[in-house]
Symmetry: C2
Amino acid sequence: MPTFDAADLSTADAYALLTSLVVPRPIAWVGTRSREGVDNLAPHSYFTVVSSDPPIVVFVSVGTKDTLSNVRDTGVFTISVVSRPQLVAMNATAARVPPDVDEFDHADLARAAATTIEAPLVAGAPASLECDVHDVREVGDGTMVFGAVRHVTVADRVWRDGAVDMGRLEPVGRLAASQYAPLGEIIALDRPTTEYGG
Amino acid sequence: MPTFDAADLSTADAYALLTSLVVPRPIAWVGTRSREGVDNLAPHSYFTVVSSDPPIVVFVSVGTKDTLSNVRDTGVFTISVVSRPQLVAMNATAARVPPDVDEFDHADLARAAATTIEAPLVAGAPASLECDVHDVREVGDGTMVFGAVRHVTVADRVWRDGAVDMGRLEPVGRLAASQYAPLGEIIALDRPTTEYGG
């Protein structure tokens, strides 16, 4: 049975193992604008919810990228949800391009303006979050960017009976390396109850 | 188009929206042992990687649960990966049971001992991480538990050619409410290259 002591793992091997075991990961397609007014868009799959009251999400930037510079400079960012039809365009925005290159233009993606902040969104995204930077914190070789969610938009086509319809949202999960997967069969389980009344 | 200002959302509505848009989420099946020696096992889907050097992961506990008490008391925890055959058993361990009830017994799950720490693992899991608590930090109504990964075990059946085989790992993602999904078709995309050499 393959076993690994973390102390013996190279950074690359630790990355490969963790990204293949912490799966499937949701993708934050993060939209920012530089001080010079150049729009940036990049996917981040170290991404989760932290709090509901107040609503806070976090994504992790590894290395100093344009996204991180922009959130530090402007204090705001958007997150567009990635659905299956956008997978290839999303991958294109993972390219490393100079900070003066507009990533919407580079990936030939239509942008929309956020409602409450000065940052771009993906126009065709099924949903988006508009965030104020709540905190930026370095942990190991990652930089955690916490976002206080100000505003949420959901496209009509994925909203049914007062909730997000998962089959229409068609989210994509990130796996190891550059592997992705849409959802398989959606399985609804009852929340467990016990003789303890829990 | 449904739009929501965070300030107007109830905690329950914010939870429902965020858990239906940050999807699919990986599941940390967290194993801990209380000071009294009672084993606990519970799923947490606010879970991601933070750093590769050193390897650090984080999960978020909402509310004060046995898991959180135990990690604070003992400074260690395990994460077992949840694969498709274990989905129903995993859901059973989401039940609220008193701290003196052993959750492996409650869910009729075989346990294994971790290699490097005093905490239980799921014996049938395809892979596991053994962690020292790196930090515990409250953010909003969530408590983030950072784990410095000490040891990683991968079952022979999911290890092929020096890497985790995603088709054999059969990970399950968490969606909104009590919805889950295995992976659909696995799609490998080339990492993008550009004329900028990135």
